[in-house]
Symmetry: C2
Subunit: 124 residues, 2 copies
């Protein structure tokens, strides 16, 4: 499953804004700071990839695949953010923004090292 960084952001936002009734275009747009039209377009692509399902003029829902991917992205995000805050002492808000960017460009290898580093820190 290969989607662009930007689509990963949309997927993550769907996860974060969803409740039992799914996620709304407006909320996702708000969260990402883009227009509803852009969200709608992105949802089309995510649906094509089988990552979400939606009925016309209704909310969207993550499929199983979509949920798995969204959670993976979310976890990466949280891990990087935690690293920035707890290890480097970066401000919470800044860390949030930086994590959002870094999560898309960091290699699996470096990601592992970050996790390891934090594990080690925890034990001390």
């Amino acid at each position: 499953m290969q989607i662009s960084p930007s689509l990963e952001d949309y997927l993550e936002a769907v996860l974060e804004t969803a409740d039992e009734d799914g996620a709304r275009t407006t909320d996702v747009a708000e969260k990402l700071g883009v227009s509803k039209a852009s969200v709608n377009q992105a949802m089309g692509v995510l649906a094509d990839h089988g990552l979400i399902e939606r009925e016309k003029y209704g909310p969207v829902f993550l499929t199983e695949n979509g949920m798995a991917l969204a959670q993976a992205v979310y976890k990466r995000h949280q891990t990087i953010k935690a690293f920035l805050v707890s290890i480097l002492g970066v401000d919470e808000k800044v860390a949030e923004e930086d994590a959002c960017q870094i999560e898309h460009v960091v290699s699996k290898d470096t990601m592992h090292r970050i996790i390891e580093f934090m594990e080690r820190r925890k034990d001390e």
Copy 2:
């Protein structure tokens, strides 16, 4: 001075491939893994921004502004790479690639924290 990440990469590559006779389109293209046409186009934009100078069919040279910016970018790059390698233990080659991406998305604040962290490490 506001240029895109991609243009920063071109500028950095000019710095890295240049000798006394300036930098060549071909070398920059090779270094970045893009076509000569793309390099040429980017050089046009950098020239418009007064960051490089060039004569037709000749090599390009960094202006003072261009040199300053290129060095700033280069330093960021090296710092991030050093952090990945020496603190996280990331493989040299992987760190190089990751640094190349991260350098464009990291905030000034986080950048400072990284430097501080490494300074502290050095003292111990």
